[in-house]
């Protein structure tokens, strides 16, 4: 090595440029200070301590109280939050974060680098499974001074920079939690963070009330005086609350898909499916590749040709989402549309493939009978199963729909006791975090959300491995492009839809969704027209 000193290069985007890009929609009008924002929260979170519970509703509420080092643009570029700058060493082993100065906790104590080390080295590894995976790759976390934190990795893992969304890496106050039983600490009931809103009151079963943090570290923010999260357990009542303007906003699956087009069409409401780029949910028909004749790739290709993904998005998911074309969601990093093998909706081609396999139809027109296990997540997925069964019958595949509740489904998929089923997974920004787990042979386990299909390809294993440890983004892209080409050719699953979860909001609300984490964002820049 010719360079003795470690050279750093900046991976961050300047905050000013990013902020300008993010606030574009609001530029026509000047923000107004004050006002109360009313949001639906469903189901009611069990606790608001984000380091301990990371369910969706918890993230949405606690994302206003707690903060992380970074947040992410819709293109998944890291953006400053508590960290103003961040650098990765050229060998990809050391990350140095510079912290914002003058940040205080809601109880007035100053926030320092010691809090960061405590959060990421002590607290979260104990309480947060996803952070534990990140922590396992770390050799050390150190704070050379009060405003600098240095992470040292065991091996290069560039996806590390995607690990700092607030749901994955919330900052926890050391002065409250150090030396205590984290799960049992009384302070869990009165969360203390650095965010723009402070916890005020929680009337269980009714509402959660957050108020403006007057000492917030960003000058002049937040705009809002307070936020109420309203607990509304009944789906019809939630739709009515949005419709009548009782609340300003619904998020995630608050509004059932079939009600979304109607609400989105109302003149006083706005609907967007943006703000899920960090999670990149991808839905598919999952094959058990151990079962005959599914083990033959021609059969899987025939199924892919038999399903009309445009029809699925338009008519089953009410237009929410996009047709999926491959293993990586187009919102996730390193998706390469040019590398994908394409499958048009073509029943003749599907029938040809099956004929080629020698799967001859019997007298009743049936070539083979298989079991189809629907995903027990409600009506939409039931319709998808019915559609799939019908389409498969068009190519002589008799798929019998089996009835299963959520528990049975989880048990049977984990136990590989299925022929075909449906599933959807989050991708968390980087393929090394949320994509490879479904296709590498190391991860063929009797556990949900692993490679339950039993798909094996040595080259795929190798490519995912190389890409995860590769610091050069261009090389990573090459590896991921090749892996996408192989996977779309071999079809471990039949990708169907990039799910779009709707955020529906009052047109007077500005900046409701500005980043890749959508409604989990701090909302310091959200404002309401008078």
């Amino acid at each position: 090595m010719s360079h003795v000193t470690t050279r750093y290069f900046c991976k961050g985007v300047l905050g000013a440029a990013a902020a300008a890009a993010l606030s574009l929609p609001a530029m026509a009008q000047d923000p107004v200070d004050g006002g109360t924002l009313n949001i639906i929260i469903n189901p009611e979170p069990p606790i608001l301590m984000l380091g301990i519970n990371q369910q969706g509703p918890t993230q949405a509420v606690a994302g206003k109280i707690y903060q992380s080092l970074l947040t992410y643009s819709k293109e998944l570029e890291p953006q400053p939050s508590i960290a103003t700058d961040w650098e990765m060493s050229e060998d990809g082993l050391t990350y140095t974060f510079t912290l914002e100065e003058g940040v205080t906790w809601h109880d007035g104590e100053p926030f320092t680098a010691a809090d960061v080390v405590f959060s990421y080295d002590d607290f979260l590894p104990e309480t947060h499974p996803r952070w534990r995976n990140v922590h396992n790759r770390l050799a050390s976390i150190e704070a050379p001074d009060d405003h600098t934190v240095v992470f040292t990795m065991e091996e290069p893992f560039p996806a590390f920079l995607m690990s700092f969304s607030v749901d994955n890496a919330p900052l926890i106050p050391k002065h409250i939690y150090e030396g205590t039983d984290y799960l049992d600490n009384e302070a869990n009931q009165t969360p203390i963070g650095t965010g723009p809103f402070k916890f005020e009151e929680w009337n269980r079963g009714s509402y959660i009330h957050l108020v403006r943090n007057d000492d917030y570290w960003k000058d002049g923010l937040p705009h809002l005086d307070e936020i109420y999260f309203h607990v509304i357990p009944d789906a019809a009542s939630r739709a009515a609350a949005v419709e009548t303007g009782q609340v300003h906003m619904s998020r995630a699956e608050d509004i059932e898909f079939f009600d979304v087009p109607r609400l989105a069409g109302m003149p006083n409401l706005e609907m967007t499916t943006e703000g899920w780029e960090m999670y990149g949910p991808l839905g598919w028909l999952e094959f058990n590749t151990r079962v005959e004749p599914i083990d033959d790739v021609r059969f899987r290709k025939a199924v892919m040709h038999a399903l009309d993904r445009d029809f699925i998005v338009e008519n089953i998911f009410f237009g929410l989402g996009n047709p999926a074309t491959g293993p990586i969601n187009s919102a996730t990093l390193f998706q390469d549309p040019d590398a994908l093998v394409e499958y048009d909706y073509n029943l003749d081609r599907a029938n040809e493939l099956l004929d080629e396999m020698g799967l001859e139809p019997g007298d009743d027109g049936v070539r083979v009978s298989l079991r189809l296990l629907p995903l027990p997540y409600g009506e939409t997925w039931d319709r998808l199963a019915e559609y799939t069964r019908q389409q498969l019958s068009e190519i002589g595949v008799d798929a019998e729909i089996e009835a299963a509740d959520a528990g049975t489904w989880a048990e049977r998929v984990a136990d590989w006791d299925y022929d075909m089923t449906f599933n959807y997974l989050y991708q968390f920004g980087d393929p090394a975090i949320g994509v490879s787990r479904s296709y590498i042979s190391d991860n063929i386990r009797r556990t949900l959300f692993t490679n339950t299909m039993g798909y094996e390809n040595e080259r795929v294993d190798e490519l995912f491995n190389l890409a995860a440890g590769e610091v050069d983004p261009e090389k990573r892209q090459e590896y991921y492009s090749e892996v996408q080409q192989i996977l779309t050719d071999e079809l471990p699953v039949a990708w169907l839809i990039e799910l779009g979860f709707p955020t529906i909001y009052d047109t007077r609300v500005h900046n409701a969704v500005t980043t890749a984490i959508g409604t989990n964002e701090t909302y310091d820049d959200v404002w309401i027209e008078e």
Partner: protein, 280 residues
Amino acid sequence: MIEFWTRFARNKGAVFGLVVLVGVIALAAFAHMLFPQSPWRMTGAPFQPPGAQPGHWLGTDTLGRDIAAGIAHGARVSILVGLVSTAVAVGIGVIAGAVAGYFGGLIDTAVMRFTEFFQTIPSVVLAIVLVAILQPSIESIIIAIAIVSWPPVARLVRGEFLTLRTREFVEAARVIGQSDTRIILTQILPNSLSPVIVTASLMVATAILLESAIAFLGLGDRNMMSWGYMIGAARTVIREAWWMSFFPGFAIFITVLAINLVGEGLNDALNPRLARQGRQ
């Protein structure tokens, strides 16, 4: 027979019911000829109102499946479930009621307490629980409906047996040495059948309703088109597409009404004295 028919025909409603019922049964029987394609097949554009597309005179559902085809094929499930589950329930009820009523005493007490056990549980709830436990399928639905429907038959048959077993013709049969089984089957049972037939006809209607309720809740046989399923699946879009739930709902309504009318007609025909008293 002619006398039976005259008495039945005196009830205009019953004749109407019979006509409708025959129509529904014909629809079920010829569904595969009227609508040769699978009712699950997406034959048209989704969300088409009645008459908007040729060949879909009752419209299409959220996926473009023909509503008329669904109703015709759904009639099969309704008729099948109605008849088979009633037959099973009547079978269980007659045996339990006959044994209890004929032998009396401890056996009677035991059987009746057992019957009451089933009667105290709300039948819809029990049926749903049974289907959920047995895994939803056409067989489990029939079994569940039969299990919740037999107690009234048992009580009815027991009552008939209690009065009939002390009659002279039964005493006579006993004196000439007929066995208990033979007395039950050839002497008492034929004489207690009229009310059982009337009750059974009404049970068919209840069974169809119950099957619809189960399918509506999403516990139906996932591979068979049924009216309850159609309403359940269309319920979510009722504001935009009334026809998807209205037509199957109307099918259930008219079928159940027809069976009830026929049941009343049978009552008039089989129990002429009671019927006339009731009418005055």
